[in-house]
C-alpha cells in the first residue's frame, strides 16, 4: 500500500462519526414500549454489539493464527495477539453491561447480579478460555515457540465460540433471544430498532478495527526500535 496511513485515518474518522450517530439514534429515536423492558430495550444497541464485535475480533485473531501456522510470519502472531486482546476487552464489556441490564430489568426486587443464565455463563467460560491464551503466551519465553503454541491454542479457543455462545445456550432456557421457548431476535424486533442495531454492530466492529490497528502499528514500531543497536 502506498499510503496506508491515509486509508486508516479516513476509516477511523468515519467510524468515530458513525458511532456518534449510533449513540444519538440509540437515545433519541422512538421505540415501542414493552412492559419490564421499557427504555432498557435500547441496550440492544450497546450490549449486543459488544458480543458481535468480540466474535468478529476472535475470528480475525483465529484467521491470523492460522496464517501464522502456514507462513511462520511474526507479523501474523502480533495481529492474532492484538485482535484477541481487543476482542477480550469487548467481551468483558459485554459481560458487565449484561449484568447491569439484567439486574435492573428482570431481577428487580430480587437483588440478583448473577443468575447463571446459560448464555452469560458460557460467555464467561469463553472469556476464561481466552484468558488462558494470554497466560499461555506469558509462560513461554522463546518467541518462535510461543507464537506456534499460542496459534494452535488460539484455533482451539476460536473453535469453542460457536458452541459456547450459540449451540449450548439455545438448548436451555434463558433470558436471551433464540433460547428454548424464546423467539429469535429477528421475529420480535421493531424495524427502527433493527436499523439502529445493525448500524451499532457495524460501528463497534469498526471501532475494534481502529483500536486493533493502533495496537498492531505500535507493536510493529516496537520491533523496529528493538532492531536499533543500543548506543
Amino acid at each position: 500500500m502506498a499510503t496506508p496511513g491515509k486509508t486508516y485515518k479516513r476509516l477511523r474518522n468515519i467510524v468515530l462519526a458513525w458511532l456518534t450517530l449510533v449513540v444519538l439514534g440509540g437515545f433519541l429515536l422512538d421505540i415501542p414500549r414493552i412492559n419490564i423492558l421499557e427504555h432498557t430495550a435500547r441496550n440492544l444497541y450497546f450490549h449486543v454489539p459488544m458480543w458481535f464485535t468480540m466474535m468478529a475480533a476472535f475470528f480475525v485473531s483465529a484467521w491470523h493464527s492460522a496464517r501464522y501456522l502456514s507462513s511462520l510470519d511474526r507479523v501474523r502472531d502480533t495481529r492474532a495477539l492484538e485482535a484477541a486482546r481487543v476482542g477480550a476487552i469487548f467481551g468483558i464489556l459485554g459481560l458487565v453491561t449484561g449484568i447491569v441490564w439484567a439486574r435492573f430489568t428482570w431481577y428487580v426486587g430480587q437483588g440478583i447480579w448473577w443468575n447463571f443464565d446459560p448464555k452469560q455463563t458460557m460467555a464467561a467460560v469463553q472469556l476464561l478460555i481466552y484468558g488462558a491464551y494470554f497466560t499461555l503466551r506469558a509462560s513461554v519465553e522463546e518467541p518462535e515457540k510461543r507464537a506456534r503454541i499460542a496459534a494452535v491454542y488460539n484455533l482451539f479457543a476460536a473453535a469453542c465460540v460457536p458452541f459456547l455462545l450459540y449451540v449450548l445456550p439455545r438448548q436451555m432456557e434463558s433470558l436471551h433471544p433464540g433460547a428454548e421457548g424464546n423467539p429469535a431476535f429477528s421475529d420480535i424486533t421493531h424495524p427502527i430498532m433493527r436499523v439502529v442495531f445493525y448500524a451499532a454492530v457495524i460501528g463497534f466492529i469498526g471501532l475494534f478495527w481502529v483500536l486493533y490497528t493502533q495496537r498492531v502499528r505500535l507493536a510493529a514500531l516496537n520491533e523496529r526500535a528493538d532492531d536499533i543497536p543500543e548506543s
Partner: protein, 88 residues
C-alpha cells in the same frame, strides 16, 4: 437480608423471575432499595446510561493502556538513539 413474603408483582417495581430455570425456587420480591429507585426512574432510562458509561469507561481504560505502551516505546527510543541523531 430480610426475607419478605412474596407479594403480587405491581407494574412499576414488581418483577417475576422471567428465567424459569429458577421458578421452582421461591424468590422473595423486596421493596426497591435506593439504588433500584435511582436506576428505575425515567422508565429505566438510567440503566441504558449505566451501560453506555461502562462501555465508555472500558474503552477509555484501554486507550490509557495503549498510551502507556507509547510511553514505553518513547523511552526505549530515547535510550537507543543518542540526542545528536534525533535533532532535526
Amino acid at each position: 437480608m430480610t426475607i419478605h413474603a412474596i407479594q403480587e408483582a405491581d407494574t412499576t417495581y414488581g418483577a417475576t423471575p422471567y428465567d424459569s430455570v429458577w421458578t421452582s425456587q421461591e424468590v422473595p420480591v423486596q421493596q426497591p432499595d435506593a439504588l433500584e429507585r435511582t436506576m428505575l426512574a425515567q422508565d429505566k432510562l438510567y440503566v441504558v446510561l449505566a451501560v453506555v458509561l461502562i462501555i465508555w469507561i472500558g474503552l477509555a481504560a484501554f486507550i490509557y493502556r495503549t498510551d502507556r505502551r507509547i510511553d514505553r516505546l518513547e523511552r526505549k527510543l530515547d535510550a537507543r538513539i543518542s540526542d545528536e541523531d534525533v535533532s532535526p
